[in-house]
């Protein structure tokens, strides 16, 4: 029985006494909002979504239209060059005809000297050079079109990845998002390789048709017959191809998903010796993808020969009709030869049309898959208020009747109910309580990882929802329990690309008690850290995350159980270090009585509500739950890291 990653059928309401992780609480809200319901904050409906509208035909035309609008210069150039190619191709034929009539015939019948052929050859060569140059530029401009558009899709995707809230990320797997960026973006642009060629060859189509009409109407229409046949064949093709491609692209995403998760857990797989199981899981998906690809191939295999054969059928038809007209005396033999030649010209745009139509389903499917991400609107939208602040000025944090309720099919679950308190500027406020009391949800709101469903959270005097992203992140530094490390140097992990001097970085590392460790490394600040911080211990990662928070001299420092892997002495050293470099408001979620004792204020939460607040001594006296918790902690004899490197 293979295990597939999936959500259980019904949505899972959260447990009452569990602290939901800030990353993704168990909520019932579904995935991306449907296109019809997208509104901006102030209620305006948004303009055209990324998703392609309408039926197959409209989707195809929309893709073409949007891409050309996106890269107008490239496509204008591509189409013009393709038209030039068309003209040159016609020219080659005409020149050969001219050479045959005015040079070859007289030469071979002795009327002209052989040397006059060189003129003909020279003209032909010139035309050919023009032709070849136009081919080169046609292809190059087409590739600009394709790859510019691919990069554009990927940039739209990266914008979403980095602006959508953590809750959305919790619902999508990394592997699937990778597939959107690689395979779907590539599929979405597949049609644009032959497209400029096709659009440019319309010239050839028109020219040859007009010339055919001049020869004989019946012949012209015999030739043109292949066009509606081709369109009809292609419509049928699209009908079968589209679902097949959808399935194949979807499965590419799933293969990517399984692979990514499996590689993330590679160490676990190794230590449990479950490689065979992972192989089975992966194999299931790859075999499904294989079947889907084969289906796509079969559909193509059926239609491609048909499209390819059409020009040939056309020339047979022309021949038959030509001879019939010949027998009627309506055309001469030379006309038939001309018609056959013109048809061969005609065949080129027909074939390119076939290519475009063949690739279109793939592009439509790819585009729409990209659209499922790009059309997702963030539910947490930053405000626009810029507040300049001078560093080292701490700000207060106020919770005013803050509530957080999840609306579910079965019941409403309240994780936070009417929480009000103030963390005074420059002071240390500790939130305590059992697991599930709502502490993490509450502090996450300060950094706007969550928005309350009722009430207001303020930093200073401003509602956090009004502040611009920059203003908020400059004011508030949030350190969570699980500290993420980027595959970059120590310096980069601390500065996150902002302009901090090395001195400032060292100072932050000192406060975070990580300076000695850093100095011991041969490359010091430039020491590269592995993906996810694989070459650091848990405690070192936490200290790095704290250094990252401190270097910014935030007005508010939020620590969500961020010192859990550090022993009390180190934690206290960090906290006193923080106050030494400048005044900061500290809001901490903590469990240790040691932390509580140092706090200026303790806010005790139980099941989403404040049941008491005050200093450690006050609460010990007045609140039995508090006493219990503190004693339980001390009784468990929990001491910490013996690591003495800091």
């Amino acid at each position: 029985m293979a295990r597939t990653p999936r959500e259980p059928e019904q949505s899972v309401p959260p447990k009452q006494s569990t602290q939901p992780s800030p990353l993704s609480p168990t909520e019932s809200a579904n995935g991306p909002q449907p296109a019809s319901e997208r509104h901006t904050q102030d209620g305006r409906t948004l303009e055209t979504s990324y998703e392609l509208p309408g039926g197959n035909l409209r989707k195809s035309l929309t893709i073409i239209g949007r891409t050309i609008r996106k890269e107008p210069r490239v496509y204008t150039a591509a189409i013009l060059i393709s038209s030039t190619f068309g003209l040159f191709t016609v020219a080659v034929g005409r020149v050969i005809g001219w050479i045959t009539d005015t040079k070859l015939i007289p030469i071979l019948s002795g009327e002209q000297s052989g040397h006059s052929i060189w003129l003909g050859g020279a003209v032909l060569l010139a035309v050919i050079i023009g032709l070849v140059l136009s081919i080169a530029f046609r292809r190059i401009s087409a590739s600009y079109g394709v790859f510019n558009m691919q990069a554009h899709h990927r940039q739209e995707l990266s914008k979403k990845f980095t602006t959508l809230e953590p809750k959305w990320h919790g619902k999508s797997s990394a592997g699937k998002l990778l597939a959107h960026v690689s395979s779907d973006a590539e599929a979405a642009t597949a049609v644009f390789n032959p497209l400029p060629f096709m659009l440019g060859s319309v010239v050839m189509l028109v020219v040859s048709f007009v010339m055919l009409l001049a020869v004989d109407v019946w012949l012209a229409f015999a030739a043109m017959l292949i066009v509606p046949v081709m369109i009809a064949a292609n419509l049928m093709f699209q009908k079968y191809m589209t679902p097949a491609i959808e399935r194949a692209q979807r499965l590419r995403g799933e293969v990517s998903e399984v692979a990514h998760e499996s590689f993330e857990g590679a160490t676990l797989v190794k230590s449990l010796g479950t490689r065979n199981q992972e192989e089975r899981r992966f194999s299931e998906k790859t075999q499904e993808l294989r079947a889907a690809n084969v289906r796509v191939g079969i559909v193509r295999a059926m239609f491609d020969p048909l499209i390819e054969a059409l020009p040939n059928v056309g020339s047979l038809l022309v021949m038959v009709v030509g001879v019939w007209r010949l027998s009627q005396g309506a055309v001469g033999p030379g006309d038939i030869v001309t018609a056959a030649y013109l048809l061969s010209l005609f065949a080129v745009p027909v074939r390119t049309f076939g290519w475009v139509l063949a690739d279109m389903p793939r592009s439509v499917v790819g585009w729409n898959r990209v659209a499922t991400v790009v059309d997702t609107q963030p539910q947490i939208v930053p405000g626009s208020l810029h507040v300049a602040r001078s560093s080292s000025v701490p700000l207060s944090v106020s919770f005013e009747h803050v509530g957080y309720t999840i609306t579910d099919d079965s019941a409403d679950v309240t994780l936070l109910g009417d929480v009000s308190f103030v963390a005074p500027a420059g002071k240390t406020t500790v939130l305590m309580g059992r697991t599930g009391a709502g502490k993490t949800i509450a502090v996450s709101m300060i950094a706007r990882l969550w928005d309350p469903t009722s009430g207001t959270v303020r930093v200073g005097t401003h509602d956090v929802r009004e502040l611009s992203r920059t203003s908020l992140s400059e004011a508030v530094s949030f350190v969570s329990q699980g500290s993420f490390v980027f595959e970059d140097s120590i310096r980069e992990n601390v500065t996150l690309g902002h302009d901090y001097s090395d001195d400032e970085v060292w100072e932050a590392l000192e406060v975070a008690q990580l300076a000695t460790f850093t100095r011991r490394q041969t490359q010091q600040l430039d020491t590269p850290l592995g993906e996810g911080g694989s070459n650091l211990s848990g405690g070192q990662r936490q200290r790095l995350a704290i250094a990252r928070a401190i270097v910014r001299r935030p007005a508010v420092l939020v620590l969500d159980d961020a010192t859990s892997a550090l022993d009390p002495q180190v934690e206290q050293a960090i906290l006193s270090g923080i106050s030494k470099v400048g005044e900061t408001t500290v809001v901490m979620v903590a469990y240790r009585s040691a932390s509580a004792q140092r706090a200026d204020q303790i806010v005790f939460l139980d099941e989403g509500r404040i049941v008491g607040s005050g200093t450690h001594i006050e609460l010990l006296e007045s609140l039995e739950q508090y006493r219990e918790l503190v004693n339980a902690y001390d009784n468990n004899d929990v001491e910490l890291e013996v690591d003495a490197d800091e």
Partner: protein, 605 residues
Amino acid sequence: MSNSESSIASASDLGVFATIKRGISVTPEIVTGIWVTLLLAIVASAGKITVPMAVQRALDSIASSGADGVEVRDIAAVSLLALGALVIAGLCTAALNVRLFRSTEAGLAHLREKAFSHIHQLTVLTQNTERKGALVSRVTSDVDTVSLFVQWGGIMLVTSLLQLIAASIVMFFYSWQLALLVWATFIPFVIALQPAQKGVNRAFTQVRSRMGAMLGAVSEAVVGASTIAAYGIGDRTQSKIDAAAIAHRDSAITAAKKVAVSFSGGAFAANLVLVIVVIAGAYLGVAGEISLGSLVAFLFLVQLFTGPVQLATEILNEMQNAVAGWRRVLAILETPIDVTSPAESAHAVASGPAHLIVENIDFAYPAGPKVLDNVSLNIAPGQRVAIVGETGSGKTTLAKLITRFSDPRAGRILLDGLDLRDHSEEDLRRRILLVPQEGFLFADTIFNNVAYPLRAHGMQSHMELEERVRGALHALELERWLATFPAGWDTYVGQRGDKLSAGERQLIALARAYVCEADLLVMDEVTSAVDPATEVAIARALDVLMTNKSTVTIAHRLSTAQNSDVVVVMDAGVVVEVGNHSELLAAEGRYSQMYAAWIAQTHNA
């Protein structure tokens, strides 16, 4: 003895045809039934050439005999025959394409699976030389390029070649002199082709490598999404990804330009032939070697020749792209596996609490100093051993060697008398289990996460699985905790278990460890101070888990050391003290120093 740690190469450095050969030898299914497929291709090509030929002959006769010499009926008959040939050609093409897709996709699926399996077999160190996203690209997008190439036009190369041959034969009949000239015109082009293709190949390799880099960047952004949101560095991260996307685009356009030049070269040669034929034909005609009609026909034939040549060039170019992708996958398969196990253990392997002997082992990371120096240990069956020491003392490395994530550079490790290296992988993993600091959970239910190793080792019946999982939860006293979830063990834990707290993830990891029933537990102690309730639960669960097994714990708490049977104190890669808590205190050595410092800390806090 394994040698230095390998890293994953960016791409295999085989040439184009060598890559195809190697690729086929790795997954021979690709060429299943190739002869029948080729036969179909020959028939299809023959059919495709029939119609233009027939048309040409008919036009010839029309032109020469005029209106009277031609009967509609005759022409119609010829047309029908030609149509028939076309239909046959079409059917053959369809059939051969289907055969081709089937065999290619079978081979490629197999290739994916092989690469996937190989990646898992690499040591953790080797795996970490490449980002997760880039590793994923090797089994997805790199293989996709081969698949797409075949879908697009794999067989066209063969049919083009066959058409070329057919056209050449007919050309020889019309005028051998001109035919030779035609071939001669192409020779310089063919010679220039090879180095041009090499350049194209290099360009495509760069494209694939940049794709891998882009996916690496995206993966990091997605996995670290919370941190990125909290610090408001979304813009910076977006720029990184965008830069990678642009880098990919630039390399793709460079490759496309090279392809365009190469293709245009082919087109030039193909059309230059016309000029050559026209001029030479004129002279030959004057010399009486060729008639006007034949010359006109030859001119027409040449088009049949040059079309496939251009198509073949196009295909060869696209093939470079596919080959570049193929090489990246093959590079994975070429990466040496530093730690290999025999298929079967050297002799029957025992069960029950393990007796572990570490004998004089040395270890150093590649190009680094010794991290372990002549370390020896003796762990009796059922003993609880704690290893303490500062960061950098080598205790983590020791744990890695005991669980055979790496092999020592000198010395050996014996499990019940048998060297770890003589154990089959299955036996080894059955007996030894690593419980890391942070347990990795799959995006699945609690039940499936706990049952994972059971399913992996073949247990199918749901009843049995439930029994074992229930047993684990009961033994570790986790039932009450589980009951607080409305969905019980069907609760979905989220990506990487992120819907649960760290402590809860650890509880599930412990339950999972319990069902493995290993004989030696190697634990990297959880250091997070989680809330007291979970803390207690973890401690109790651990106690049960460690019963009736030998345990080696990398201890971060001196209380753990206090409660162990044996404490091993390490410093700078060397074992400095061994004994139990009281012995070591009495010895007044390193351990007693550490203990005193810890006492002082707790009193100050």
